[in-house]
């Protein structure tokens, strides 16, 4: 299936050079999990603090489950804060 994969803040450097606007389109197996993607892009798991699928929070307990769908956008941040 095809996904849009986004990395932000200090994780941006882990994206391939062809990425634009912090995003890259990728092909993955139909049963791929968020953790698979985190490992594929060599993101330290503790740095994958905020994981959103189509803008919706993905609980850490659900990141190893095959809950991604074709066309999804997955976006990941290290710990960030603001106000």
């Amino acid at each position: 299936m095809k996904l849009t994969f986004k990395l932000f803040a200090s994780l941006t450097d882990l994206l391939p050079k062809e990425a634009r606007d912090h995003a890259i389109d990728i092909d993955v197996a139909d049963n791929a999990t968020a953790l698979d993607l985190i490992d594929r892009f060599r993101i330290p798991r503790k740095s994958a603090h905020l994981v959103l699928v189509n803008g919706v929070y993905l609980d850490p307990d659900e990141r190893g489950e095959a809950n991604l769908r074709d066309g999804d956008t997955i976006a990941i941040w290290p710990p960030v804060a603001g106000g």
Partner: protein, 616 residues
């Protein structure tokens, strides 16, 4: 240095400066800064008074940990009645002046009355003098700062001042200290200018004292700093991208107020984000962000120091803006950017520089410009009204010209200085004002973050994110993750955030510590510094007491439960895109429960039992 136990009372009408003892009974109930100064204000003025009359007071207040070695212990607040909202105002600022006031030996400065002529207060330890402001009235904050530093030949003089915007009556004027930090919201600078008080210049050399248990205090603050350093948000995240790290987060979750809150996602968000501030420019190879910066005693260092692209149109003939200055925080970037539809990072940076230079709140300014842009779009405003200004969404030129006009209060800048509510009323479309109690919204659309809708509606100073930042839980998962679309449990969450934040503010600490600290981390620091039984529980109780005191002030000022609401756009017009698509804010499901757990009547009035329980 815990409490100095001294207040400086400045009667501007009489021209007197008198020292008096701090009311320690109140201090042990309201802690300091926001809470304690609110108590003084509530006791000393008629809440129904005209905020811009001499009957209003203005208080510059420190907390007991201001000036100590506690991390972020450099905060101070300006407390007064707001001319923008008619409610109590408390605007918090960092920088260095809070520490200086404390080191001069004062817990707070209370300004009463109105000076017959423009003056500034010069305060050097025990010596307080009201001086003629002839040489600085009519000057910007930056010019004022330079003139006074030159005059006194003391680089360590700390200065808080109002700019030309406040002198011209802009209702969301700030008190800017150390050139780039601001008590920004609710028009506290407008009140200061109304008193003919241009600036406060302070030098304090008394050092730290009055710590109840110095050894315990050192242990507690060192432990607190360890916790901040080891937390990824406060130890790394905020220093790297500052609050601007949230631009892409909030856009992704579909809670980015866009084009006067008609939309919830901005197509240009990445161009004005924290990440964009790190990208090298074509012109000089430098990034917008030069470095980060820290306020007094802070070990987080979220501040932004930026430059504008030297080839950008805004500074083509203005070399004074070519150097490093205070850069964009998330709130400014959102209000000046996505809410006006402008994705020009340098234009936003320039507008932000002007907000600092002449002292006006970039949130309220940006939101007011966005309301004007919508009025312009529907034809309720024309170029005849704006002096030829084409106020179109997305126009960087319109935004930066508007900023220049508000800074000096000329032309259509006068109308923009009214704020969104009065502007929309004047031009016949009150429904286009995105405000609560007359104050403009900050950067989180409550259709996508339900708890924030309740936090905005019930905030004691009008729409504000810093009175109960449930974004922390609903989006960032601190201290626990909650569902941003759920309404269940949100009244309890909002109350918990509101009470805890009131306590943190009143201690003299920065609320950003709470991404790592709970009150269990803060209470030992307060307890070691201050007399009294300060535990996490007693701090929560103090926070609840402060919240109810502020609420009572507002009710006495004439506000009612009818003011605890949101614009119809947020209650009836569903979000069009993103995860919140189809949702409105469900305030009606949360507000009655909130009143109930607050111990208030169904009309939102604290009951006699509640006030008695809290000894308000």
């Amino acid at each position: 240095m815990a409490w100095t136990r001294k207040i400086l009372r400045v009667n501007l009408t009489k021209g007197t400066c008198v020292a008096e003892p701090l009311n320690m009974d109140w201090a042990t109930k309201y802690l300091g800064q926001r809470g304690l100064a609110s108590k003084y204000l509530a006791e000393e003025i008629d809440p129904a008074c005209d905020a811009l009359s001499p009957a209003n007071n203005l208080i510059m207040a420190t907390g007991p940990l201001t000036g100590t070695m506690a991390s972020t212990g450099g905060r101070y607040s300006v407390i007064t009645k707001s001319p923008l909202t008619g409610a109590i105002a408390c605007s918090n600022s960092g920088g260095f002046i809070g520490n200086e006031i404390k080191n001069a030996g004062w817990d707070m400065i209370i300004f009463e009355g109105k000076s017959p002529k423009p003056v500034y207060l010069y305060l050097e330890n025990d010596n307080a003098t009201l001086c003629s402001a002839d040489e600085i009235w009519g000057k910007s904050v930056w010019e004022t700062d330079d003139i006074l530093h030159t005059k006194y030949q003391d680089p360590l003089l700390r200065i808080a001042a109002v700019g030309r915007a406040a002198e011209q009556g802009c209702l969301y004027s700030a008190v800017v200290n150390d050139k780039h930090r601001a008590a920004g919201r609710s028009g506290v600078g407008t009140v200061m200018a109304s008193k003919n008080l241009k600036a406060v210049a302070v030098r304090g050399t008394k050092g730290v004292g009055n710590i109840r248990d110095p050894q315990a205090f050192i242990r507690a603050t060192v432990e607190g700093k360890r916790v901040l350093a080891e937390n990824a948000m406060t130890g790394e995240g905020l220093g790297a991208l500052g609050t601007q790290a949230l631009m892409n987060v909030i856009n992704e979750v579909g809670a980015m107020p866009t084009r006067n809150m008609r939309e919830v996602q901005f197509e240009g968000a990445s161009k004005i984000s924290g990440e964009a501030m790190l990208e090298p420019r074509e012109s000089d190879g430098k990034a917008n962000l030069t470095t980060n910066g820290a306020c007094f005693g802070c070990t987080i260092a979220c501040g932004r120091i930026s430059t504008i692209d030297p080839q950008h149109y805004t500074i083509a003939d203005k070399p004074q803006y070519a150097g490093n200055s205070g850069g964009l925080e998330y709130e400014a970037a959102w209000a000046l950017g996505s809410n006006t539809g402008v994705d020009d990072l340098d234009a936003l940076t320039y507008a932000n520089f002007l907000c600092n230079e002449d002292g006006y709140d970039p949130i309220s300014f940006g939101a007011t410009v966005s309301a004007a842009m919508e009025l312009f779009q529907i034809g309720a405003l024309t170029t005849k009204d704006t002096g030829g200004l084409e106020l179109k969404f997305g126009s960087a030129e319109a935004l930066t010209k508007a900023a220049e006009l508000v800074a000096i209060g000329e032309g259509f800048g006068k109308d923009l200085g009214l704020g969104s509510k009065r502007l929309c009323d004047k031009y016949g479309h009150p429904e286009l004002s995105m405000t609560v109690k007359g104050q403009e919204f900050p950067a989180y659309d409550p259709r996508g973050i339900q708890g924030m809708g309740l936090a905005y509606a019930t905030s004691n100073r009008g729409a504000c994110h810093l009175r109960g930042y449930t974004v922390s839980s609903e989006i960032l998962g601190v201290p626990v993750k909650t569902d941003p679309f759920a309404t269940e449990g949100k009244p309890e969450l909002v109350k918990a955030f509101q009470d805890a934040t009131a306590a943190v503010d009143s201690a003299g600490l920065c609320v950003f510590t709470t991404f790592a600290w709970t009150l269990e981390d803060i209470a030992p620091q307060v307890a070691a510094a201050c007399e009294g039984n300060w535990t996490a529980e007693s701090m929560v109780e103090a926070g609840e007491r402060i919240w109810n005191l502020e609420r009572k002030f507002n009710i006495d000022a004439g506000l009612t439960a009818a003011d605890d609401t949101l614009p119809e756009r947020l209650l009836k017009d569903a979000a069009k895109t993103g995860p919140a698509k189809g949702k409105v804010n469900e305030l009606g499901k949360m507000l009655p429960q909130y009143y109930q757990i607050r111990g208030w009547t169904v009309d939102g009035v604290p009951t006699a039992e509640t006030l008695a329980r809290l000894s308000v």
